[in-house]
Point group: D3
């Protein structure tokens, strides 16, 4: 069973799985070799030391490996250190990712099924087929179900990209009928695909970071490439439909300074931008408030990205849902 780092106390005997973030070979004053490790799991990080057979054990595992470790926690200069007696490399397959990374609290497979079924309702044959091509692309689907939606700002956990994508898609469905004349098929397709480039932009197998191509191109360009590739497989995909879909994808950040090479120019693009932004903000601030409000205060610490604090009201009333009065009666005869 996993022992979490933030639960370890002085003198504890530990026997558990960790990820090796750093590994350095040192030598003591008396000239003996020792290994200094940084071990991490989802609860935090701690130092580990291997004092005996360091040279030998150094060959057993590398930085970024998962390891099974036995040892005893000791206090050294105000912080805990694990004096390791046994260490073994463990293959990634056996690992429970949620022991090492934050994970969505929802069921990944259920979310994915919901998203697929939503897409199957699309009437436009080209858009319907386009989505099917994506779902049939197994390597893509695997990444799409695991990727976080960002490294820090919102949905920054395993499954976050899928959770955010589904959430935006459901927001679109709830709001689209409020305005007449919108192309719902197009909007649903675009909301499902809007962040697809993030499967290539982010890396998340050892920590949440950007991939090289993520930094150099960004998820808008990477998403365009994947979209282009699928559209090309559908030989008679209407040019104008492709144009609109691509426009929704590249403009969904809404502003040049947020990395969109175009501002939204259609009502559909505006709606996608707003609801995507709303969902990212609501999730990001909700996650932030969970950890950043200290006891006895109702205000969060300063959020460097948003350049402000946030407020957690004292208590919320539990109200039942409202009846939405039908709008049809409002139209003039």
């Amino acid at each position: 069973m996993k022992t979490y780092i933030n639960e370890i106390k002085e003198n504890d005997h530990v026997d558990s799985l960790f990820l090796v973030r750093e590994k350095t070979l040192g030598s003591t004053k008396s000239g003996n070799a020792y290994l200094k490790l940084i071990l991490v799991d989802r609860s935090g990080e701690m130092e580990g030391r291997i004092w005996t057979s360091a040279d030998l054990l150094s060959g057993v595992f590398e930085k970024d490996d998962f390891v099974q470790v036995k040892g005893k926690a000791a206090s050294f200069q105000d912080h805990l250190q694990l004096n390791i007696t046994h260490i073994d490399r463990v293959e990634e397959e056996g690992i429970l990712l949620s022991d090492f990374f934050p994970m969505t609290e929802k069921d990944i497979d259920a979310m994915f099924l919901t998203l697929m079924e939503t897409g199957q309702q699309i009437k436009d044959p080209y858009l319907n087929q386009l989505l099917r091509l994506f779902w049939e692309d197994k390597p893509f689907v695997e990444k799409f179900k695991m990727a976080p939606a960002s490294t820090r700002l919102h949905h920054a956990y395993i499954g976050g990209l899928l959770e955010h994508t589904l959430s935006v898609t459901q927001l679109i469905m709830k709001n689209v009928a409020h305005y007449s004349g919108l192309n719902l098929d197009l909007l649903i397709t675009a909301s499902i695909l809007h962040d697809l480039g993030k499967v290539d932009e982010l890396s998340y197998h050892r920590s949440f970071d950007y991939s090289d191509e993520g930094r150099l191109l960004g998820h808008i360009i990477l998403g365009m490439e994947r979209l282009e590739n699928k559209i090309r497989e559908l030989s008679d995909f209407p040019k104008d439909l492709a144009l609109q879909l691509k426009h929704l994808l590249i403009s969904h950040h809404g502003q040049y300074q947020w990395g969109s090479p175009r501002k939204p120019m259609t009502l559909e693009a505006i709606m996608l931008h707003f609801l995507d932004n709303l969902d990212a903000k609501m999730n990001g601030i909700h996650q932030f408030l969970k950890t950043q409000v200290s006891e006895g205060s109702r205000f969060s610490r300063y959020h460097p990205f948003f350049e402000q604090s946030f407020y957690l009201p004292p208590q919320k009333s539990e109200t039942e849902p409202f009846n939405i009065i039908e709008e049809k009666e409002i139209e003039k005869e």
Copy 2:
């Protein structure tokens, strides 16, 4: 029956109601007095001339009066002019406002009823009572039902403020359940009241413009004053609830540069800001596209406020509404 200015052709005999935008007394080369008028209705404006008894008739009406006019349209230097033979002042009560100003296409009373009924579902007794106080304030309600939501940018027509308010309120109701833990009573109250200061900020009886207090204080401050006044009538209104409600009102523009003295600091304030902004943009651009796309083109003219053009896609598919897959099954057990 009203004859609209944009329908008048050379040699037409006209007998209809107009609003006098300008009135100047001139004299011909031969020394005779004449009156030069600018007449307007919702379809446009035209010049009118009174060549006989100008001095006498000048006393009959003033600039900004509604007048019943008889005359004949003549062409003069490339544009039409109305040579007026009879003119009479008409009291405002008899006027159909929609002849002179753009109006909402929806039924004002039906919209108002819907909004009131929505408010009555609020469980919180203070917020419920607060809204009732507003609805019992007859002069306020009258203005609230007639005011436009802006002079040009969105819902710039009689009834626009009410239409926008109802629309934002319905958007709130559709989206609030998507996120857990939000204070729905507070959000609905805030969405109903968020723009209430516009009844004082805008003047719309002769043209859509800003009032003096609108320019000097703006609708956020003016709305705060009205809100304060009503809250004071409810002697035991909870201080914290008032604080949150006021915060939603003053932060709903979202950014300092858009005139909000505070940025949204709660999840409720963020949602209100986003959905208010979405509704204003969707309506504003929709209205703009109706008039600013020239034939044969799919692009609008440059919009000076948004600093871009907009695109009107060639055709929209008519799709039936989607089934929203229930989210509950997604929660992990």
Copy 3:
């Protein structure tokens, strides 16, 4: 007599008043309970430890209490620590605030009297009466005399709000005659009231910070509420005068990005904005230069808010005041 924290040396026996910023119950390796305190006064902060009867003494006082402490200073890991033998809670009334917070160097009562007498010279009966209402509001006056003008940037000390208010008012009096046609009564009233919302925005009884309503609404809105309340008590206060006064209050920050929901639109509002800003900058930079210029240098450290350094010239000549040549002779005959 007060012993200041920055004067305490190793082995000193201390018997003095402090404020408890933090209080934590811990246990030694041998399992005994002890109390770890952070004690503060205006000169700094230090750690305190209670090794005996910790459980018992823990009930005697709380975080944010003032306490009388006896103990001996010992060096521990490079910094001083107070080993406390006696501790007692002290009521706030007996406290000299200037022992714990920075204070204005001027006489608070003399400043307040000067400000009141200045206001009494106002000829306009409504404005004169309005100010009198504020001075008769005892709870307001008490806060107004104690509040700082900001948490850090300028006049960040007890009495700072009053000092800044008087200073701006005197600047207005010195400059207003320089330009003809300005409404002096209005300007003096506005300068006295421009920052009144700060009595609610800031909290300063334990440290200088923002109150909840200060963060959520800000002093411009809070000041508007207090102003509105007083104006309402004066039944026939002229609407236009109220409008102008409110405009001066809400526009005195001068720019949207500095939190003003309106930019100054009258000559009076422009003058108030400039002289308020001048006074804040002059005081803020003067205070900053007192502490931020290191010996041997004429340049301050980088000021993060102003994003620059400041320069302290080597010496100033002591010149007698100049005679201001009368301007009247300059007017053309």
Copy 4:
């Protein structure tokens, strides 16, 4: 006697001085040469035509000459035109500049004397001498007394630079004693010299415009050159004093984006920047309000530079000056 262009009516016989802004030789359908002129004075501009002896008269004067003109005003296509029968070039010496350009309403010589006498009170021998050098520079003084302070924004009239300079200097004198420790000699010298480069930056003999060196270098650089030249004449001028004075000059615009290569870094530089800016704004908006508020309204037209409208309050109370309560009594004993 001067006949002003805005007073000329149809059929008037005109015999007056004008400035020739444009001069074009044309030919009628029948092939006869005629001259088409644009004549201006401070009240406006009008077209003039010379129908006879056009070739001959064309040699008598050039564009940008002052001319004495005789002719009769006739109406042509909705506007007036002067049919000229006699025209003669007039030397500039005989011209009253105020007939052709807006002028300060104050007495230029009295203002200059006041400024000089103010400077003579400076105790610092180097600064005192420096100013004397400027006043002994006759060509400089002549320009300094005539130049406007800008082409449009503020003090945009003959004598405006002097009026603005004196005004800022008097503001400095009124405000400097309010803060202790400021170098008054330095501040007065800097306020007198802060805009001196404008004598080279602006041209104003035919219209208010920028000179070539004004456009390419600007008045801050041009002023630095003149200041450098005078300082060099004073062989032992203290280096540190020169450094501070130059800093005040180059930083007086306050911000990089307003063309200052440095932001104000001393309390003196901050005060000069604020009071200079205040004086420019107060004058500029006062001048703007005189011409830009249409009858019946209290709001000016939109000011493109300030990106806002301004408000002219209905009436101002005439109040007597206030007694400024002495500050000394406020200092704590």
Copy 5:
């Protein structure tokens, strides 16, 4: 032979080719149909009227057709009008584009050859082959040789894209050796391809404008698509090389606000951005100065995009080229 519109004078008999910008059918007061045309060529535009057989001739040509026109120029209300007697539609093939649009002053085929030969020097086999694929794409090459580089700002003439591309490529070659360690093959390829999306972004067969896909996607995205398509044809194109090349393409605008979804992150990308920008500015301002400096002045009119005027110095010295001293001797031994 072509008669240019700006050469036509009253009473001229005209027989020449024009482009029909607008075509409207009207009817005279007497009820006869007539056609009102706007005719354009590269020298300007003029009105044309067809008074006889208007109905019949209206079927012969459409708006945006090229037509051979016979008629006589007459003066009507201050401007010239062409009364047309014969009109015939002309096929586009026979048209000399330079009669209707501004054209590069250089030889298009020679420029293209130079560019191709430059590319052939590339040693990297993948990049070399990639360029060859583009040159073998006949429809692309045809557009690439004709397209302007922008609608107005720089190289806004037929052949402008090619001229700008060659110019940037030559700048790269001249500057790349100045810095060590740069990947020249990559830089040359990127400079040749950096604006390739403009062949799809701009339309220039009737006037210089944006295509629909140009507005909705922009040339950076359109260029990425063309680049992706060609890279895909080269099966073993190295992934890292493709990544770098794409990064150079999408970052060449240098800033988010200029439409780049990424800022330049390599030394190569920085150099390409700077030299591309330099070339665009030098050409754009040079073209602007040719038309925007009025006689007798050395300053251009205000340039709305750059928000400034430009200066044309009085005369340039003709100097012979300098010898560039070899840098090698500078390296330390």
Copy 6:
């Protein structure tokens, strides 16, 4: 021989030259005086202690002196400390600057010679003479050869100003012929002089910092003063030439916000600005990449000034220089 600080290990006996950055007299618990020093050289800094005869030795040297030190390195609380037994002040003349500061890798005298010879090719007699005046100014030349070009951003090493100046001058020569009509003499002179004010702006004898006049005036103003002084020595220097040269100097930062009081208004000024900026960026990022890319990564750390990371591509192909195809053949006949 110099022992570098970053090479010293525990128990080493050290006998070497260092610079004293800080010097503090302390006393041990037993009451004995000791000296605590911070010693630096170009490789880093370390603490030194003098335990015996501290009072006496304290008079031997001061902060900012160079000293010859003997002692032994000991480990104290995790870092090394030098226990000093002998210390002597050393005169600056004997010091090898490159032991203490980063230095250009090029030969300073060779660079200077190249720059001078380049200037001698200038045909314009005034510009040629102007440069000669600068080279004859020995104190200037000495500073010009040693000064860094900035404290941190680019060419931040001894000789950096000269290296950057030569580099920009060579870039100008390589690019100027690419555009016709540019004034090469003017451009070369301006590129040689564009940063000359940095000899006064920066101080670099003890560390790289700004001088007082550097902070208060900046190198653009300081450069203008030096330029003015030299131009004044050349009695008949053409006014227009001086104007253009000064414009190039003051506008070379390109934007107000980068401290230029004017934006570039001529083609020459635009070219100088771009190539100066290019050279600063290329050098600055190249230097940054040398130290800021950690092993195993291709991305640099975040660069706070540029607000981004940079990318170091995996390997560069070594390509031979390209043949630049002659442009002449491209001109149309």
